[in-house]
C-alpha cells in the first residue's frame, strides 16, 4: 500500500497581475502515498489552492501559468499530457471536492442528473446501470431516502447534504486520489464532524488517497497522516502528523499552533494568545531572504539575505529554516 501515487517536483505557478508577477507557488515538492491523506495547510494566499489547481491543470491561462516542474501521477507527468488526455484524468482518476457545495453544484439540474453525467462521461454504461450506481453512491455517503433526493435540486438540500452529494460525485468513478479543498470550511461543526467521519470511512472503503487542503489545523490533526505547511508559495515544514503537532520546528508552524485558542489547556491568566506579529508579506513584493523573517523572533543576518533551504531534522522531517542548517 505504500507506493507513491503522486509526486510533485519543483512546481512553480505564476500569475501576471497589474501589480506585478505573483509567484503563487514557488518551487514546491511533495508526495502523496497510496491510501494516505496528505494535509496541505496554510493561511489565505499561501498557494495551497493554486497547488491543487496546478495538479489538475485548471489554472486559468492567462493570467496564470505553470512555469516549471513536474506532477507525476501514477508514473505519468500530467504537465506533459494533451488536454484531451487530461480530461480523462479529471473526475476519473483524480477528483475534487470544493469548499462551497452550493456554487460547485449546478443549481438548474437535478442531483441525479449531475451524478449521472459524471458516471456516463467516464464509463461506458447504460442509463439504468448509471442510475443504480448513483443510487448506491448516495446511500454510501449516508443520504437518507436517496431515491427521492435524486430528483431534487441543490437548493432543496442542506449544506451538509450538498457536500455529501459532492463527495458521491467525486467517488463515482473510483478515483485513485481525491483533492479536497477546504471541504468542511463552510459547514457547522457538528456537520463538519459527520463529513470528516464520512471521508475517513470512504477512504478505507475505496482505498483512495486524499490531498486535504485546509487552513484548519484541527481538521489536519484528525485526518492527515503527513502534513506540509505552506507560507508564501513554499513549503516551510513537511513531516508526519505526530512530529508536526508534537514537535513543530519551523518558527511559523510553532507560531500558528500557539496562536490557536485551546480546547483543553488551562487559560493564560491575562487571556493573551501568543500571536504571530505582523502580516503575511505581499506576494508581488516578497522580502529578500526568508519570507517569514520580519515576523520571526529567531531571525538573524543570514535570514535577511538568503532564502533558506529545506533541512532534514530527522527521519524525513523537513524544515525550511536556517536555524537547522
Amino acid at each position: 500500500m505504500n507506493g507513491t501515487l503522486l509526486e510533485v517536483r519543483n512546481l512553480h505557478t505564476y500569475f501576471r497581475t497589474d501589480e506585478g508577477l505573483v509567484k503563487a507557488v514557488n518551487g514546491i515538492d511533495f508526495t502523496v502515498r497510496r491510501g494516505e491523506t496528505l494535509g496541505l495547510v496554510g493561511e489565505s494566499g499561501c498557494g495551497k489552492s493554486v497547488t491543487s489547481l496546478s495538479i489538475m491543470r485548471l489554472i486559468p491561462e492567462p493570467p496564470g501559468r505553470i512555469v516549471k516542474g513536474e506532477v507525476v501521477f501514477d508514473g505519468q507527468d500530467l504537465l506533459t499530457l494533451m488536454e484531451t488526455q487530461m480530461r480523462r484524468i479529471r473526475g476519473n482518476s483524480i477528483s475534487m471536492i470544493f469548499q462551497e457545495p452550493m456554487t460547485s453544484l449546478n443549481p438548474v439540474h437535478r442531483i441525479g442528473h449531475q451524478i449521472l453525467e459524471v458516471i456516463r462521461l467516464h464509463q461506458k454504461v447504460r442509463k439504468k446501470e448509471a442510475q443504480d450506481q448513483a443510487l448506491d453512491l448516495l446511500r454510501k455517503v449516508g443520504i437518507p431516502d436517496p431515491r427521492r433526493r435524486l430528483n431534487e435540486y441543490p437548493y432543496q438540500l442542506s449544506g451538509g447534504m450538498r457536500q455529501r452529494v459532492m463527495i458521491a460525485m467525486a467517488l463515482s468513478c473510483h478515483p485513485k486520489m481525491v483533492i479536497a479543498d477546504e471541504p468542511t470550511t463552510a459547514l457547522d461543526v457538528t456537520i463538519q464532524a459527520q463529513i470528516l467521519d464520512l471521508m475517513n470511512k470512504l477512504k478505507e472503503d475505496f482505498g483512495a488517497s486524499i490531498l486535504l487542503i485546509t487552513h484548519d489545523l484541527g481538521v489536519i490533526a484528525e485526518m492527515a497522516q503527513r502534513v506540509a505547511v505552506m507560507y508564501t508559495g513554499q513549503i516551510v515544514e513537511y513531516a508526519s502528523v505526530v512530529d508536526l503537532f508534537i514537535e513543530p520546528q519551523h518558527p511559523y508552524t510553532q507560531g500558528l499552533l500557539e496562536s490557536i485558542p485551546s480546547m483543553d489547556q488551562p487559560l493564560p491568566h491575562d487571556r493573551m494568545l501568543k500571536a504571530i506579529p505582523g502580516i503575511v508579506p505581499s506576494l508581488v513584493d516578497l522580502p529578500q531572504g526568508c519570507s517569514f523573517r520580519d515576523r520571526c523572533a529567531h531571525a538573524f543576518e543570514r535570514c535577511q539575505s538568503e532564502t533558506p533551504l529545506l533541512f532534514d531534522v530527522g527521519t524525513g522531517h523537513l524544515v525550511r529554516c536556517w536555524l537547522y542548517e
Partner: protein, 324 residues
Amino acid sequence: MSEDYLLIVEGLKKYFPVNGGFLNRKSVLVKAVDGVDLKVKKGETYGLVGESGCGKTTLGRCILRLDEPTEGRVFFDGHDILAYDRRAMRELRRHMQIIFQDPYSSLDPRKTVGQIIGEAFRVHKILSKEERRARLDELMGVVGLRPEQIQGYPHEFSGGQRQRICVARALALNPKLVIADEPVSALDVSIQAQILNLLVELQHRYALTYIFISHDLSVVRHICDRVAVMYLGRIVELGDQQQLYSRPLHPYTKALLSAVPVANPLKKKEAVRLEGDVPSPINPPSGCTFHPRCECRKEVCVREAPSMEEIERRHWAACHFPKS
C-alpha cells in the same frame, strides 16, 4: 445576590414572516429567536455560541434594536429601551456598539479611515474639530494603526487591519457595551490571535462589557467568562466558561464540544456524533426542539419543552435529563 447587570433581556422573541406558496400568499413565521432571557454583568464577556441559524446574530441585533423584537423586554442600565423613541434610541446607541464579522462589507469603500471612525462624532455632534482630531489619533494608536493611515481607504488595508478599523469605530464614543458578532471568523489564525488580544486589552483599559457571538467554540472558551449555548432560537445551556466546557449538561453542548477538531493527533476523544441536520425554524419539532437528534431522548422530550433549571450552582440547562 444583588449583582450589577448592564443588560437584562426577558422573554425576547423575534419572528420573521416569510412568504411561500402560490403567488406568495401563504405567510409563515420563522422563529429566529423564540423566548430568550439573559443577564449580562458589567465588565464581563458573555458568549453566545451556536451553529448557523440558531438565532445568535438576530438576538444581538434585537438587543441593539437594529431589528425590532416581536416580543419581550430589553433593559440597558436599568432602562426599558424598547420603549425608547428614535431620538432616545440614537442617543443610547453611543453606549452600545457592534462589530461585525466581515471587515470587507462593513466599511464604506468611498470613505477614508478618518471619516469612517469620525462619523460618530459628526452624527452625535460632539467634540470640537481639534478634539475630534486628537481623539482620532488616540483611537488609531489604541487599536494599533499608524496615525498617518488615517487618510487611507479601506481597500488599502488587510483583513486584520480592517477589523482594527471596525474596533476603533465601535470605541469612538466610549461605549459601555460592545456586541462583537463573529469578529474574528473571517480572519486567518495568526491574525485572529492579534484581534482577540486587542479585544482583551481594550476591555481592561476601558472596562468594556462584551457580548461575544461566535460559532467557534475554542475562541469562545478563550475569551468569554460566561457562555450561553443556543439551539433553534433558544438558550439551552448557560454557565461559567470553565464549568460549561468541563462539565456540559445539555446533550447538544456535549455533542458540539466533541465535534470540535483538536490540533493534537495523539488525543483520542470520545466521539458524540449528532445525526442529521438542524431542523427548520419555520416548523420546529414539538417538545424539546433538540429531541430528534438527541441520543438520550425519552417520551417526555417529544411532548414537553423543558424549562431552564439551575442544575448546579450558576449552571443552567433546559433539558429533561441533564447529565450531571
